[in-house]
Amino acid sequence: MSSTQIVKVPRVLIVDVVVAASATLTPGALSIPNDADFEWWWLSIFRTDPRLKVLITESATQRPFIYSGSPQTPGGFLGVFVDNLAGLVSSNGEFPIAVPYVMPASRSYQHQFSDLSAAQNTVQVAYHGFALLQVANS
């Protein structure tokens, strides 16, 4: 009788986007590979200029990760500054999600970036965690 077990394999998933100067809601997607669920532990972001905002939504459920309750937000609801989302890679390392969050296999997460620097902004978002691979016991 065969059985399976879950093996955690370190995995980093990337969202790479070049945001044009002053562009709003430039899309980028995080796609979870279909071989395994992804257990998300850490987040890190590189960006050219800190004046960059992002919104993140789980595509299947439309559940947002980012909320703004402030009616005073200038320029509308464009998301959280990326330095508030994940810290600054150059000085701070990675942001701990603190409570690991499992992203199901094949699911995608919509990112929308908005530039406020009036110059092209190159951004990379790195999701660090583990693939929860299901392997057969021999």
């Binding site: 998300w40 532990w41 850490w42 200029d49 800190p50 004046r51 559940r63 947002p64 990760f65 980012i66 909320y67 703004s68 309750g69 402030s70 009616p71 005073q72 937000t73 200038p74 959280v80 500054f81 330095d83 508030n84 989302l85 810290g87 600054l88 150059s90 000085s91 701070n92 390392g93 942001f95 701990p96 999600i97 603190a98 409570v99 690991p100 969050y101 620097s117 009036a118």
Partner: protein, 167 residues
């Protein structure tokens, strides 16, 4: 005979530092209670960043009351306060935070410098224990003061886990 001169230092050295859990967030295991990888009881919740943003004139103070997601457990603060120059210069501000439903003032009396609750831009401050915003429509109240003599954009963000009611 040593008396108190020898006993006191030994007693002091055996005290557990109240800052034992206040370890920089370099290691996941060091973020919360000693030896625990994550605050227990919040598994299954979804990460959430809740922010308020202000366009503040020089030395202006504003406040706002805003909803936080249901079942929100606050874990961390971060902030971003810049002027309008290029590259932007980080400017000083002060902040007060209030849990409306539970009538809890996080910073009673004088407001705290932003850097002392949320770190400088690009850094976060983590609570060693989560704070649960209770009620069906939990709300936070935020009051911020621009300490600079120039106009700034200020965003103050709360990070936490939504959708979990702690036992």
């Amino acid at each position: 005979m040593g008396g108190l001169n020898t006993i006191l230092p030994r007693l002091i050295n055996t005290l557990v530092s109240p800052r034992v859990a206040m370890i920089p967030k370099v290691f996941q295991r060091g973020t919360y209670r000693h030896g625990e990888a994550n605050p227990p009881g919040l598994e299954g919740g979804m990460p959430a960043w809740v922010y308020a943003e202000f366009a503040l004139q020089a030395q202006e103070t504003q406040d706002t009351t805003y909803p936080v997601p249901a079942g929100f457990n606050l874990l961390s603060f971060s902030a971003f306060c810049i002027d309008g120059s290029t590259p932007p210069v980080e400017e000083p501000f002060r902040v007060q935070l209030y849990d409306v439903n539970r009538q809890l003032d996080f910073i009673p009396g004088k407001a705290v410098n932003g850097g002392e609750i949320a770190g400088n831009r690009g850094r976060q401050f983590f609570l060693t224990e989560p704070h649960f915003f209770s009620g069906s429509e939990p709300q936070a109240q935020l009051r911020v003061s621009n300490m600079a003599i120039v106009a700034v954009t200020l965003q103050f963000a709360l990070y936490g886990i939504q959708g979990v009611i702690p036992q």
